[in-house]
Amino acid sequence: MGEFKVHRVRFFDYMPSAIRAMVFSTRTERLALARADGALEIFNFSDNYFQEKVLPGHDGRAVEALCWVGPRLFSAGLNGEITEYDLENLRPRYTVEAYGGPIWTISVNSQGTLLAVGCEDGTVKMFEVLKERIQFQRNLDRQKGRIISLSWHPSGTLIAAGMMDMIRIFDAETGRATHRLLVDRGAGASKSKEVVVWSIAFLSDHTIISSDSAGKVQIWDGLNGTLIRTHLITKWDVLALSVSQDESSLVAGTSEGTVVQFQFISSTVDRLDKDWVRTRTFKNHSHDVRALAHTETAVVSGGMDTQLVVRPLLDKVEKNTRESAMRKVSFPHRSLVCCAKKAGLLLFQFPDHLELWRLGESDGYGKLGGSLPVKRGPEKLIQLKRKGEDHICCSALSPCGGWLAYSTVTSFRLYRLQNGSISICKVSKLPKDLLPAHQLCFSTNSSKLFASSSNSSVVVVALNELECKYLGTLKAKYGCRQPVHQLSASDNGKWLATANTDCEVHVYNLDKLKLHCTVPVYGSCPTAMAIHPTTSNLVVVHADQQIFEYSLVKKEYTEWSRRLQKQGLHSMWLERDTPITHVTFNPKNPAHIIVHDMFMFCIIDKSLPLPEAKNVLYNQMALRSLPEPDRVLHSHGFKICKDFQHLLCVSLLEDHSLVVVERPLLDIVSQLPAPVRQKKFAT
């Protein structure tokens, strides 16, 4: 197989941002997530929970609530603006100022015609949803306190608003507040603090369910304005509520990190006296749960511990199958690390700056598994802060280490690095067509830069000493609207492969600057791809863990790929829950493909037999512990190594040493904000 010298990199201080709000669209099976730094992420729940799109954040866009209106996504934030997003170009389409102070909540009626926002000044503002924009319609009766949460009745005639110390029910047509439901304050010390009704839900039988900062989930009769039942579920705040589509199940998220489920069932056999009964408690988070979504089969939760947890409900899915497994999304499904293979440099992408590091050096030879003495430690060469308020969308470093480029939603910057990457100077006079870039890629000889643009097209610019010239735009076939999220150039400079979120993979001929071929569409989105340097085979890995190898010269799947599809990938390979984010090759051995996901990296040797489905898929360490005859029996072409956790990037340098960028989850958790203090016996 080969021995590698491994650079174990742990100096990438990647810190994800807390999850602030989420909303699920049943029609499109997409989950939209808003983070504390203003970034938005779209997850495709029908494609193995793949993170399809990431919209970069913005300073001062403090998103508090999200809302799907059909296929359109709206957000409202504490900056007082309602923003609609263009999901094909990954940027905000427009913003509308609500003029009510910070906006705490946004909600659309079931017909999809009116958008209600709750503001700091106590008004509920109604906006009409028109074809290309939204328009202010009217204010409902102004109240004395701030409106923290809103919920429409499914008929669209009533709105329940959660405020400080009370809940108000408005008539949506007249705008008058009809009922006032007073919420009890907490006991003891919290009696002097106002209780905040963090979340509210209005059901079709006029039941209102509210959750507040005193730890209660209360069930009210919306017609009479009376309290039916109180459930005290925690000593801290209950921050989020979500009701299922059929209104039979409800989940509440607390500051402790627990998610409590209530179900509308009857305690006896006869179905007449149904009541909301507390059923399950999930403790999947260590910090506050601030956002919840109840899909048909699962409960999705997210909060201050930055992880997205999808918990399928066992009464909706079959037990002990792949669908019933809990999924945790901790790292983004795209690469934040760019490795310059020839120069031994690493580029780390943060939302507000970029860091360029040179890898350390080590002499000497050690035995397998041992650590080598470091002769010269790694050093940070450049820290480049972004200009403007938009966060960095994508970045790239050329393999020779001489060019650095990054793009935000509004600007594009290219830098030339000289003197061994010590000095940096900005390249001005960039071609106008370079905005906006969703993905960047340098060619292997650093002479060209590829930037993906709108409508799945790619802009090609040539790089000279200190200037760059526009060469052309590679256009996909007509009708491709989705953004390109994967770009890969071949080593010989002849081919460029692109993949967009519509699962379309196009290959362009760079000599002629034209479309060469389109790979047959596979139902799952590509998560990583690369072109082999010698054989010019395109290897594509998809979100459902399938691997395909396509020959660009012959325009057909290779023989190995057909063999793999015929036998099928091993079930343990398919059951992995994090996608492959990087594919690379070994120059010394053309039969090797190196892939990695968050928990393992694997060298696929195409010359060795494929793993048998009935055998266990052992990783290298487990194989070594087996006795000799078993080892031969179980050896296969998928050499998995789990020595390094948790992986952000695995790359192979030109001098045949492996670079492994790790970010242990423990390091992230130890820097999170304060969790609640739970008193445990004997501590």
């Binding site: 001062g60 007082g80 900062s213 801290w236 958790v669 904000p673 203090r677």
Partner: protein
């Protein structure tokens, strides 16, 4: 509570004065003292105070002996007071209720007075320190102002002579003048002072809303702990028990460590020079 204490103090005072007035007694007196010391002081004093007062009241009313309802302890305490009485040939000292009340009030006033004086002393100290800091700040600002003036005078070399001559004597005085007046002088040219980023009403409202959210979640009364403590507790209670997550604080005294490194390097360098 305060009145109890004052009663205790009164009782202590009384007891002490009683003891002092009597000459050293025989074994009976010592026994009584020993018995008292074997119990907790506050209880004994309180009880003795109560019984003493009871006795005094009863003496005033003309009752002779303490009632039989007393508990054993009280009887012994009563015994204590009786002992005091019996150890001395004289009759018990008649201390009226008003006297002891006045005593109590006086001692309380004294205590309050000392507390107030201490507070005032602290306030004085704080005020003096604050003034010292202001003074230091002013001095610091002034030196920065002087540098600015030197810079500005360099730039103004190409200006009209009159302006230069004006600047010269003012520069000398600038050191003694108040920094506010210097700032006014600097605005003579075409200068405007603005903030780099205009803070709008929206951003201040955003900040206020974020502060509200932060105070509700992390403010006082939110009963929170640190991530480090939570992880350390998990290590302590988990299956494989291990040490706290941040057992050693690695980032303590960074500057001192850096200084030590530099010193070490220079020392090694110095060592190598004579040998080479």
């Amino acid at each position: 509570m305060n009145t109890n204490n004052s009663r205790c103090i009164a009782a202590v005072v009384k007891a002490r004065s009683l003891r002092e007035h009597r000459p050293a007694n025989g074994s009976a007196g010592m026994q009584g003292g020993g018995r008292v010391r074997s119990r907790s002081l506050s209880v004994t004093m309180r009880r003795s105070a109560m019984t003493l007062q009871n006795n005094m009241a009863k003496n005033q009313r003309g009752e002779a002996a303490p009632s039989s309802r007393m508990t054993g302890r009280e009887r012994q305490m009563g015994g204590f007071s009786l002992l005091l009485e019996s150890s001395d040939d004289e009759g018990p000292e008649e201390v009226t209720f008003e006297d002891s009340k006045a005593d109590a009030r006086r001692s309380m006033k004294r205590a309050l007075d000392t507390a107030r004086r201490e507070k005032e002393l602290l306030k004085e100290k704080r005020r003096k320190r604050q003034e010292l800091f202001q003074e230091q700040k002013k001095r610091k600002l002034l030196s920065a102002e002087v540098l600015e003036e030197i810079d500005s005078t360099k730039q103004e070399q190409s200006h009209v002579k009159a302006a230069e001559e004006e600047a010269e004597p003012e520069e000398v005085e600038g050191r003694k003048r108040n920094w506010k007046q210097n700032a006014a002088r600097n605005l003579k040219g075409n200068y405007t002072v603005t903030t780099v980023k205009q803070s709008t009403l929206a951003s201040s409202q955003l900040k206020a809303a974020e502060d509200f959210l932060h105070s509700r979640m992390y403010g006082p009364g939110s009963r929170r702990t640190t991530s480090n403590e939570m992880l350390s507790l998990e290590n302590k209670m988990g299956k494989n028990k291990s040490a706290a997550v941040q057992f050693v604080k690695k980032n303590w005294a960074c500057q001192k460590k850096a200084k030590a490194e530099k010193l070490k390097k220079t020392w090694i360098h110095m060592q190598q020079i004579p040998s080479s």
